[in-house]
C-alpha cells in the first residue's frame, strides 16, 4: 500500500503527546472537536500549514508520554495521512497503526525531506522522498494485515462478525 503526501517537517526529539494535545482539551470524544487543538502546546500555527494530504516528518522518540488517542485522531481530522520518523514511542506507534495512519521508521528519509517534499510511505518497507527511495524496516506480517484491513476497527469487526 502506498500513501502519498506533502511533507511538514517537525523538528526535535522526544516530542510528547501533551504538547501535541494538552490535557485541558481531553474533555471531548468527537474527533471533529479534537481537530482544532492539535499541536496547541507546541506550535498552533502548524495547523495552518496542514494541506489536505500532509505527511509529518519527525525526529527520534516521537510521541512519548500519554496514550491519548486524541493526538492521531486530531491528526487524521486535520488531513494528515502519515508520519515518517527516526523512531517512535510505543503507544503512539500502536495508535497510528490501529487507526490506519501510515507510520514508518526511516532516518534517511527524515534527513532527505524538507517542508514541501513529496513523500510516499510504502508499507512493504520503503519511504520515497522526491522520487528517491529509502529502505525502511518491513512491518511484521500482523501489522501489514491490520493495515490491509484499514485498521484495528475493521480487523476487529471482521472477527466480531464471525
Amino acid at each position: 500500500m502506498r500513501v502519498e503526501g506533502v511533507a511538514l517537517r517537525v523538528h526535535g526529539d522526544d516530542v510528547d503527546t501533551d504538547v501535541m494535545y494538552p490535557g485541558a482539551f481531553l474533555n471531548v470524544e468527537d474527533p471533529e472537536e479534537m481537530a482544532p487543538h492539535l499541536f496547541e502546546g507546541f506550535d498552533p500555527s502548524l495547523r495552518e500549514r496542514l494541506a489536505n494530504g500532509t505527511i509529518l516528518v519527525v525526529d527520534a522518540n516521537f510521541g512519548i508520554g500519554s496514550s491519548r488517542e486524541h493526538v492521531p485522531l486530531a491528526m487524521k481530522a486535520n488531513g494528515i495521512r502519515g508520519v515518517v520518523g527516526r523512531s517512535f514511542a510505543r503507544i503512539f506507534f500502536r495508535n497510528c497503526v490501529n487507526l490506519g495512519l501510515a507510520i514508518a521508521r526511516c532516518p534517511e528519509a527524515v534527513d532527505a525531506a524538507g517542508d514541501g517534499s513529496r513523500v510516499v510511505i510504502d508499507t512493504e518497507g520503503a519511504v520515497e522522498v522526491d522520487g528517491t527511495r529509502y529502505a525502511a524496516p518491513a512491518a511484521p506480517p500482523f501489522l501489514l494485515e491490520l493495515g490491509a484491513a484499514g485498521g484495528l476497527v475493521e480487523w476487529t469487526a471482521s472477527r466480531v462478525a464471525r
Binding site: 526529539d13 522526544d14 510528547d16 501533551d18 504538547v19 494538552p22 490535557g23 485541558a24 481531553l26 474533555n27 471531548v28 470524544e29 502546546g41 527520534a60 522518540n61 512519548i64 508520554g65 500519554s66 496514550s67 491519548r68 488517542e69 486524541h70 492521531p72 485522531l73 523512531s87 514511542a89 510505543r90 503507544i91 500502536r94 495508535n95 490501529n98 487507526l99 511484521p140 506480517p141 500482523f142 501489522l143 491490520l146 485498521g151 484495528l152 476497527v153 480487523w155 476487529t156 469487526a157 472477527r159 466480531v160 462478525a161
Partner: protein, 410 residues
C-alpha cells in the same frame, strides 16, 4: 505472556495475541473507546466481570463537556453490567485497582491510560493502550503485542534517608533516558527491590512508561502476598525470570548511595540530585497522583509539613489517591496537619497532574510535584516549569518556598 497467548515459545519481536485478565478505562479514554467498539459491531463486552471503568481524570467534572463524558462512562457501564467507580466511590484508577484487589501477580491488565504500568508493583503485566486498542480488548478480550525484551534493574542496599520509590525510578531514567526502555519491560530485582514497600514499588513501576517501557515489574514476594491477603479477587502464582534469561541490558542501582533526586523541566529524564537544584523559588507544590498519593507519601509529607507553615509565596495541594486513603489520612490527623499548615486538600483526582483542573500553573511559575510527567504545558501554561520529586522534597519545598534538601527543614 506465554501463559496468556497460544504460542509455545516466544522471542522478542514476535507479534502475538495476549488475553486480558482485566480491561480498564476512564472518563478520557472510555468514551472514545466506546465509539470504536460500536464501529466494530460489538454490542456486549467479552466478559463484564473483567471490565472496570473509573471516573478520575476530571473529578469532579470541570465543565459541561467533562460532565457529559462521565455521564457516558456511567451509563455505558450500567448498560454493560461492568464495574464502575464514580464520584465519591473510588479514586485515582491505578491506586484504586490495587486497593480493590483487581491486580494480582502474573495477571495481564490492558488499561486506557499510559500509567497502567503501575500494576507491575504487584508483579502484574499492566500496559497502557490507546482507546481503539481498548475497544478491541472490550470486544475480544485480547490485544496484539510485539513481545518486548527485558531490561534488568538490580537494586541493592536500603534507601538512604529521604530516599524512596520515586528516587529509584528517577535514577533509572537518569541512566537510560526517556527512550532507553522502548520495546522493553523493566524488571526490578535484587535485595533492594525487596526492601521497598508496596507503596514505594507503586511509585517506581508508575514511571516505567517514562523510559518508554510497556511495563515495570517487581517480584511477587512476601510483602506483595501480605498486601493481597483478603484483598485479591483471584488466585495467583508468582513468576520469576529463569536463571539463564537474556536481557537487553542490566542496570545496577545501590539504594544506599542515592540522594533525593529531582527531574528538572521539561523531561522526566532530566534528573539531578536535589542539592544541585536547591534554591529555585517555588510557586506551587502538588503532592499526590496515581502512585504518589498513598499513605506512605502523605506520611512523608506530614512529617515535614506537620507543625510548620507553607511559605507565603508558595501554594500547596495535597491529593490523597483514593476515598479510603483520604479517610485513613483524616483519621491519622494528616489532613488537618496539612490544612493547618496552609495547604489545601483535594478529593482524589487526576486533576492538575495532567493539566485537567484543580491547580493549573500560570506562565513563569515553578512547581514541585510528586507526579510523573513534566513536559512543557503538562500542568497548565507551556511557560511554567515542573520539577518531579518525592513527597519529602515536595513538602520541604512548600515550607522553604524553594527547592531544598529535606534535611534542611527537619
Amino acid at each position: 505472556m506465554l501463559a496468556h497467548c497460544d504460542a509455545d515459545e516466544l522471542r522478542p519481536g514476535d507479534v502475538v495475541t495476549v488475553r486480558c485478565d482485566v480491561v480498564m478505562a476512564n472518563d478520557v479514554s472510555g468514551p472514545v473507546a466506546f465509539r470504536a467498539m460500536e464501529r466494530m459491531g460489538a454490542t456486549r463486552v467479552f466478559d463484564p466481570d473483567r471490565v472496570v471503568m473509573v471516573a478520575d481524570h476530571f473529578m469532579p467534572a470541570k465543565d459541561a463537556k467533562s460532565a457529559e463524558l462521565q455521564q457516558r462512562l456511567q451509563r455505558w457501564s450500567e448498560a454493560q453490567g461492568v464495574s464502575y467507580y464514580g464520584q465519591g466511590r473510588g479514586g485515582i484508577e491505578h491506586t484504586l485497582l490495587c486497593e480493590e484487589g483487581w491486580i494480582t501477580p502474573g495477571a495481564v491488565i490492558a488499561g486506557g491510560d499510559s500509567h497502567t504500568c503501575t500494576y507491575g508493583a504487584l508483579g502484574a503485566f499492566g500496559t497502557g493502550l490507546g482507546s481503539t486498542d481498548i475497544a478491541s480488548c472490550l470486544a475480544l478480550g485480547s490485544f496484539w503485542q510485539a513481545v518486548p525484551e527485558t531490561i534488568l534493574v538490580e537494586l541493592t542496599g536500603r534507601p538512604a534517608e529521604y530516599v524512596t520509590g520515586k528516587d529509584v525510578i528517577l535514577a533509572v531514567l537518569a541512566e537510560i533516558g526517556v527512550g532507553g526502555g522502548t520495546n522493553a519491560v523493566l524488571e526490578f530485582a535484587g535485595p533492594g527491590a525487596e526492601a521497598l514497600s508496596v507503596d514505594e514499588r507503586l511509585a517506581v513501576a508508575n514511571m516505567a512508561v517514562e523510559a518508554g517501557s510497556e511495563a515495570g515489574i517487581f517480584p511477587a514476594d512476601e510483602k506483595v502476598a501480605a498486601y493481597l491477603e483478603g484483598r485479591a479477587r483471584r488466585e495467583w502464582r508468582a513468576e520469576r525470570s529463569d536463571e539463564d534469561a537474556e536481557f537487553r541490558r542490566r542496570l545496577a542501582i545501590e539504594l544506599d548511595g542515592l540522594e533525593p533526586l529531582v527531574a528538572l523541566p521539561h523531561l522526566p529524564g532530566n534528573v539531578v540530585p536535589v542539592s544541585a537544584a536547591a534554591g529555585v523559588p517555588v510557586d506551587q507544590v502538588y503532592i499526590g497522583n496515581c502512585a504518589n498519593g498513598t499513605m506512605t507519601d502523605l506520611r512523608q509529607a506530614a512529617s515535614i509539613l506537620g507543625g510548620r507553615r507553607v511559605h507565603p509565596r508558595t501554594r500547596a495541594i495535597v491529593v490523597p489517591a483514593t476515598q479510603a486513603i483520604w479517610r485513613e489520612a483524616a483519621a491519622e490527623g494528616l489532613l488537618d496537619a496539612f490544612v493547618e499548615a496552609g495547604a489545601i486538600v483535594s478529593t482524589p483526582t487526576c486533576g492538575a497532574c495532567f493539566g485537567g483542573s484543580n491547580g493549573a500553573l500560570a506562565a513563569g511559575e515553578t512547581a514541585v510535584t510528586t507526579t510523573n510527567r513534566n513536559f512543557r504545558g503538562r500542568m497548565g501554561s507551556p511557560e511554567a516549569g515542573v520539577h518531579l520529586a518525592n513527597a519529602w522534597v515536595a513538602a520541604a519545598a512548600a515550607v522553604a518556598g524553594e527547592l531544598v534538601h529535606p534535611r534542611e527543614i527537619a
